[in-house]
Symmetry: C2
Subunit: 488 residues, 2 copies
């Protein structure tokens, strides 16, 4: 790594002191991020043994299947202490989808007691064995990635592609990039994060040649950046037309029709860009290993809330039982729906967020300008040119008890000021969410949870739960600070 | 009138009962709106005598001038009890503008004690004699209206054009239209009103043939309606290109480059359109002669204010000495400037208005959602792609005492929540207007008045002045009702 960096264009542009500082930081990070030889051996042996056991089980079942280790373990690019193992079961395409359940049953037999059955495009099994999280993923064997029927069918091709281009030096560069992304909170394609997958980190490193080259490039990325490693498209705009509006476009080297970065949300992309710029100016190990947040003490929390003068509205429900991608997909969708509801009734949302421990509780936060709005609201009617609409508007509002003043003309439109339906955002939410708010766009599982365990708290009313849940306390402290830890 | 109405297309479309009702209303209106024979004689004789006196005075001065009666008295189209007389002094174009003062001096000599010297495009004298308001207007004699150097030079041509097309029937129709416009509050081209001039009423009646035909047509007008009596333009769009964005375009028959309706504001136009539609459906003499508003009693006023839940902010100053067109031009301009100021600091203006008795007091009303805003405000920074702007934003906000949370990324932008400069709209206004607010766009005379007599009152604090000034009480009552009297 260090050698490559010294030869890069970037290095020449940087001052000696800064160069030395970056070298030091990267060296320290690599020491922490590279698995020790004992860890490597243990992880590899454990993975091979599991794969072998599953192979035997499937043989006993009379299934014609290849069992392969995939993911970062297969490529030797995992970060120290990462305990994720992916074991894929490649099945002939002639088999129907019902074979999946037989594979999962076999996987259960070798997994012990602790596992979750989950479902993305295919069903899969997430098992917790000896401190590892092991994903058993059945998929179909295809001749070419382009023929893949689901994204997991494509995974073996990704592994082959990356492995054939690796060497020890590149593995270090990949680990630096993954650790950086992890440290600034943009690592992981899961819905909760909406960031960069391990495969994407590997491709970026291969494409740009080194960790620092990736950062140097990212510092200059623009929205709709196109990275086409195998040169499938003549010009970037050709790719942009296909992957319209995606903030980052990285063409999959094994399938020109896929954007490897399709999970990357614009916030995460911009955070990576900004963090890259800042790291290159002020290198610091905290980008990789941030200090853990110390939650506010209760009196600090009260002061922080009061100094804002806004209203923090917490919507609390029981937990939702679903694998994380389903859970967070539903939470984010519901957050948007509730935000729309609040804004539709004229309350101004300053910010919103959602927290869940994935086990017992979900809490949405909506921060509004003010819990209360004045009794009256402007209601703008039709333009005077719409004769029938005006007639209807007048016959409705000339006699309405709800009208406080008007109707009258303003500009070219009819207008009234009428009594506002909801002057208290809490009444609004209680009313509209008591049956789950399904028709407002709240996602199904969240809607059920709201219907049977809705609780609405404002500002200091959250104190009880805050004091009882350390993870939520950290979440709310971070919310109130509103600043990423790496922004220093 | 009645005959003409019976023959119109409209009449055929209306039911018998409605037709009879409209006839009755119009008959009753004409009885009130047509000056009695004694009033006519007195007005005409008085005008002629004044003109004669002035002619003699000017002769004595050695000035070569024609003295003419203009306006509705000249055309015999004034409304009963209207006491406005226009006396024009036509001077040869060779004279310079300094001759105007000699004309005004002569006018003063025949006017007695009560008069105001005023200035529009030219200086003129407004005198109050024997219960009449007499405008003495010097202007230049030109061969053709197109050569007019100011709008008053064009007036004699307007008088000639209308007079040559009048008969007794048409005079009745004109009086009906003027009385209707007056009753619904859209009569008068002065800046305070922004409505339809007498000349415009006359032209509309001549063009459409009758009062009811005007209403029937207006009911279907659209914004940018073009009325080209003499057919100067091939297609309406040709006229629209010249009088861009004017809501109503009536080409002056004596000058194709003038829009007679240029003073008509879009609110007034739409009020006329809507009132026309309503009158044709539900004819009522109240369109012409509305009931006078009875001001709220003090306890009713308090209830009306409280039921709104908003904050009515009154900005009160001493009077401004200027003729009405200057005064109202400055008041409206200042109202817009102050509204912009309030909105710029994030207070939401529901409605605003301005009142003046033109003698002692000016009061601006700004109704805002809430007098107070939360301590914190969102401050949206540059998009991440603007590298230098981001750098500046960060270096400013990372250390600022005013930042309550952030900076962070939201979407593709940097953002902070910071302490709001003004949380009380009253402090904002006091601060920004104490020196008159000239740099904010407040007009010069208003700015001076604010600088030496600014008073800011909220809600019930207006009670003292309300109780002491009947005209303001009616204004505020009308404001709170917010409904034109003819909207029934």
């Amino acid at each position: 790594m260090v050698k490559q960096f010294e030869g890069s264009l970037l290095a020449k542009a940087l001052g000696d002191e800064l160069r030395a500082k970056i070298k030091d930081v990267c060296r320290a990070v690599l020491e922490r991020a590279t698995p020790s030889e004992p860890e490597r051996q243990r992880t590899l042996e454990f993975s091979r043994r599991l794969a072998e056991s599953l192979r035997l089980e499937l043989l006993r079942e009379g299934l014609d299947a290849d069992v392969q280790i995939e993911g970062s373990v297969a490529k030797d690019t995992w970060l120290a202490e990462e305990k994720d193992i992916d074991i894929f079961v490649l099945l002939p395409a002639e088999y129907g989808k019902d074979v999946f359940s037989r594979v999962l049953e076999a996987a259960k037999r070798i997994s012990g007691e602790k596992y979750l059955e989950a479902y993305a495009e295919h069903p899969y099994l997430e098992a917790y064995i000896d401190g590892f999280t092991v994903n058993f993923v059945p998929c179909f064997k295809v001749k070419d990635a382009v023929e893949a029927k689901s994204s997991v069918d494509r995974t073996p091709f990704h592994t082959l592609y990356v492995k054939s281009r690796l060497n020890e030096q590149v593995k270090n560069e990949i680990r630096l990039l993954k650790a950086f992304m992890h440290g600034i909170g943009v690592y992981g394609a899961e819905i909760k994060v909406g960031g960069f997958s391990g495969y994407l980190c590997e491709l970026l490193t291969l494409y740009y040649g080194s960790f620092l080259n990736v950062l140097e490039a990212a510092a200059k990325w623009r929205k709709g950046e196109v990275i086409d490693i195998e040169g499938y498209y003549k010009i970037p705009d050709e790719a942009r037309r296909i992957f319209r509006d995606e903030p980052l476009i990285v063409i999959d080297p094994v399938d020109r029709n896929r954007n490897v970065a399709s999970a990357v949300r614009v916030d995460r992309l911009c955070e990576f860009i900004l963090a890259s710029r800042l790291f290159l100016k002020r290198p610091d190990i905290r980008f990789f290993y941030p200090e853990t947040t110390k939650a506010y003490k209760v009196d600090e929390l009260l002061r922080a809330i009061n100094s804002r003068g806004s209203a923090l509205v917490f919507i609390k429900t029981r937990a939702i039982k679903a694998v994380p991608d389903i859970l967070w997909g539903q939470l984010y969708r519901s957050q948007r729906a509730i935000k729309n509801l609040i804004e539709q009734f004229d309350f101004e949302v300053i910010r919103s967020d959602v927290w869940s421990d994935e086990k017992s509780t979900v809490i949405f936060v909506f921060e509004v300008h003010s819990r209360f709005l004045p009794a009256l609201e402007r209601h703008v009617g039709p333009p005077i040119e719409k004769v029938d609409d005006c007639e209807r508007f007048l016959s409705k509002h000339l006699v309405s008890e709800q009208v406080l003043s008007g109707p009258r003309i303003e500009g070219d439109r009819l207008i009234v000021e009428r009594r506002r339906r909801y002057t208290d955002v809490v009444s609004l939410l209680r009313d509209k969410l008591k049956d789950g708010g399904r028709n407002l766009g709240v996602a199904s599982l969240v809607s059920k949870a709201l219907a049977d365990s809705l609780e609405i708290l404002v500002n200091e009313e959250i104190m009880g739960f805050y004091s009882s849940n350390g993870d939520f306390a950290i979440f709310l402290t971070n919310y109130l600070r509103g600043k990423p830890s790496w922004l220093i």
